[in-house]
């Protein structure tokens, strides 16, 4: 069930009406839980199996972590269990494919048959959230949740179930326990956030996707201008797609009086790669920072140790996105870029003399280059694109001016939002006019059928 679809509209109307009736009663948590499970089962009832399994196991393990003297063993069990579930569904095919390639290279006439089951949507998101919870319980930064319903609702809370944000227990659980107060302001704020997310996804991401898919579908048939523009458009497509989803998720949760964490903060205005990861998919980058990078030693092990930890964390983050070498390479490019800007930030020229806009464009160029590997179907395709950008001739890219105009408009808006001129955007008539403009554009130009979100596949 996609947020931008008619079935979701009906589902949410029913769930929200029921929620307003039961908020403040003991039925609130069961209602949230049932709603979330119905939402997930809509995609496939079988998806409920890994969701329920992860919930039950970590609820039980967290209890052991709290009460048993062998806390570390129980934590290891929880992490292993989640990693195995993730590995089973997400990486089994990847492993089989690589083992087969290795066997073939060694001239061994044996091949493992790759698994044929589907990856449950959002699996990586709720498993990471569950791992984060057991680690927090182990560290004592969060209390074990004794109420099973509350814990199950925390893992499965439907607005964030399919693609995050990856919430922390000490942020979401207390809100689930609360009285479920919903104010008019919650509703209007939620609606404001939702509409902007809807616009990002339907009017922008899905539009840019058509051009990108055409070019990336056959990179060897396109020349430098089209490949460059498709890469630029993909950078914005994935931003609008994922941040649009997050805005919709946050908007829906906010309408229910529940705050989900900010996941995107105008990332293409970042002035360094480190800054980029503080603005892009914040819930994932902070998860990797807290549960991978810092336990590896963080920046406490000297320059080499810091960069090694950074590299491992980024490569792991790449692999989390997808079971393919393209994602591993994407993570590695980000790691190298991160190291490069860290080094640059040590120079007075970069820090004091280089204008902010140049830094922003530099970081944007690096991030956009990395997106080539993220979007390309294979590493071969990615190299073809990179090579052809530099070697192929010039031909008409046939890129819609409207798409470029919309991107420029969004960039200017974000630039203003982070500048001293932000107050202009906050003038009441300006806000109202912008909202009417967004809605009118949506009504008049957007096709009826919505496309799935990119990050749902992860």
């Amino acid at each position: 069930m996609l947020f931008q679809s008619l079935p979701f509209l009906v589902f949410f109307a029913v769930v929200y009406s029921g929620y307003l009736l039961v908020k403040g009663t003991r039925l609130r948590l069961p209602w949230l839980l049932v709603s979330s499970y119905v939402f997930y089962a809509w995609l496939s009832p079988l998806y409920l199996i890994p969701l329920a399994y992860a919930t039950v196991v970590d609820y039980f393990v967290a209890g052991r972590i709290e009460s048993s003297p062998r806390k570390r063993a129980w934590l290891t069990l929880s992490i292993l269990n989640n990693v195995l579930v993730l590995g089973f569904f997400k990486y089994a095919g990847f492993v089989a494919e690589n083992v087969n390639a290795l066997l073939s290279a060694m001239k061994v006439s044996y091949a493992i048959s790759p698994p044929s089951f589907l990856l449950p949507a959002g699996l990586s998101f709720f498993l990471l959230q569950s791992i984060g919870y057991t680690i927090d319980v182990y560290r004592g930064t969060t209390k074990r949740e004794k109420n099973f319903l509350a814990y199950a609702a925390f893992v499965s809370f439907f607005p964030r179930l399919l693609a995050g944000p990856i919430e922390r227990a000490n942020h979401l659980l207390p809100q689930l326990h609360g009285q479920g107060r919903v104010t008019l302001r919650d509703f209007t704020d939620g609606l404001s956030i939702f509409v902007v997310g809807y616009f990002k996804k339907v009017a922008l991401a899905d539009y840019l996707a058509i051009y990108v898919a055409g070019v990336y579908g056959s990179p060897d048939q396109h020349q430098a201008p089209a490949l460059l523009l498709a890469t630029l458009l993909f950078a914005w497509q994935i931003y609008f797609d994922f941040s649009g989803y997050t805005d919709m998720a946050r908007g829906i949760a906010r309408m229910m009086g529940i705050g989900l964490m900010l996941n995107f903060n105008n990332p293409y205005l970042a002035v360094s790669m480190g800054d980029f990861w503080k603005r892009w998919h914040i819930s994932l980058s902070s998860w990797f920072r807290d549960y991978v990078y810092i336990p590896l030693g963080g920046n406490r092990k000297g320059t080499f140790g810091t960069y090694r930890n950074l590299f491992l964390t980024m490569v792991l983050s790449g692999l989390w996105h997808g079971a393919a070498w393209t994602f591993v390479l994407w993570g590695a490019i980000h790691a190298v870029g991160n190291m490069a800007t860290r080094e640059l930030e040590r120079t007075p020229f970069y820090m004091k003399k280089l204008p902010t806009i140049v830094k922003q464009l530099f970081v944007f160029a690096m991030v956009t280059f990395a997106w080539i590997f993220f979007r390309a179907a294979t590493i071969g395709d990615a190299w073809t694109i990179v090579a052809r950008i530099f070697t192929s001739g010039l031909s008409d890219p046939k890129c819609p001016m409207l798409a470029l105009g919309l991107i420029a408009a969004v960039w200017v808006y974000q630039y203003l939002f982070e500048s001293r001129l932000r107050s202009i955007l906050e003038i009441r008539p300006v806000r109202i006019a912008l909202m009417i403009l967004l809605l009118t554009y949506l009504v008049l130009t957007v096709p009826a059928e919505g496309q799935p979100f990119i990050y749902m596949q992860f």
């Binding site: 679809s5 008619l6 079935p7 919903v182 104010t183 008019l184 302001r185 919650d186 509703f187 209007t188 704020d189 609606l191 404001s192 956030i193 509409v195 902007v196 899905d206 539009y207 058509i210 051009y211 055409g214 941040s243 906010r254 705050g259 964490m261 900010l262 995107f264 903060n265 105008n266 046939k398 890129c399 819609p400 001016m401 409207l402 798409a403 808006y413 974000q414 939002f417 932000r422 955007l425 906050e426 009441r428 806000r431 109202i432 912008l434 909202m435 009417i436 967004l438 809605l439 009118t440 009504v443 008049l444 130009t445 957007v446 096709p447 009826a448």
Partner: protein, 368 residues
Amino acid sequence: MTSADQTSDVTPFDCSHALRLPAADWVIVAVAMLAIIGLAPIVWQRYERFEPGDDYRMPYELSSDYWLYSRYSRQACDKRKTLLIGDSVVWGHYVPPNETLSHYLNEFSGRQQFANLGLDGTHPAALEGLLRHYSPSLSGRTVVLHFNPLWMTSVKHDLQTDKEFHFNHPDLVSQFTPKIPCYKAPFAARVRIALKRTIPLANWIAHLRTTYYESSDVQNWTLRHPYNCPLKQLTRGLPESAGVPEPAGGTWVSKGAKKQDVTWVDLDTSLQWKFFRRSIELLRKQGNQVFVLVGPFNEHMLNEADAAAYGAIKTKVAQWFAENKVPYFLPPALPAEHYVDASHPLGEGYALWARELLQDPAFTALIQ
């Protein structure tokens, strides 16, 4: 929720944009949007040049523009006494506007009385939807409704197959009940279609897309015309029609006049016949006088057994019309050389059909 809550601001607005609207502003936005939604089609109707031509025939390319059809229908109801409604046979698929049935009826009767409200591809299941949802002014009128037996020449044409079959005008057919077995659109798509029929803005947007953006949404249109401004497409007049399609490979006779096997559907189980009867009931309920034109089907192309089966169908159809007091005209087949295919006459065929019709006492009584 109370208005007092509106002023409290406990939860911070942690967002990467400034579009935070309080309730009062949302009310303003809602009013503005309602005004846009309600007024845009009306204002556009005044702005867009509308020249329906002598016999109100819709341009062929715009056959799926139901908003425009409503406009033609409304104007035809205002200006003409008798409305001819049906599929491409009434529309005049292979003939220019001055060789259609409505044109010859006007010419031979000496009165500008008939309007051509035929729409290409409207089989009875779609025709019912067209009448129900897109013919708002059709009440208290004289309607000549055409029944084309072509839609009963196979289980597939009759929409009875369980296997999915993509037919013309899915947006017009019944979305839920009566159920159409070969129509497999997802539930959400059906709801969307059902809602669209009730929202003038949705139909108007579909009109803009069909008429000005090559039957696609603006975004997809810009991919085909990357450097064109979408707003410049919205010219005041409808685009010029490319005319009528040429018969592929010539007429039925010039192609060798070959007989064809036809598996007639039983009238008692026919879905298309059921929808056709529903159309008659609907028109009558709206206070219209209904006259039914059957055929003229190209019986020359039927083998002996199929011709006999068709004869039985004609008898049953006539019986139903008589029982239900529906005046009708069931002519014999036109001469073979007047057909393009199984059901479409050539210009001479339309002229002959019009002459025969004007000699029918029931018809002449109706149009007086």
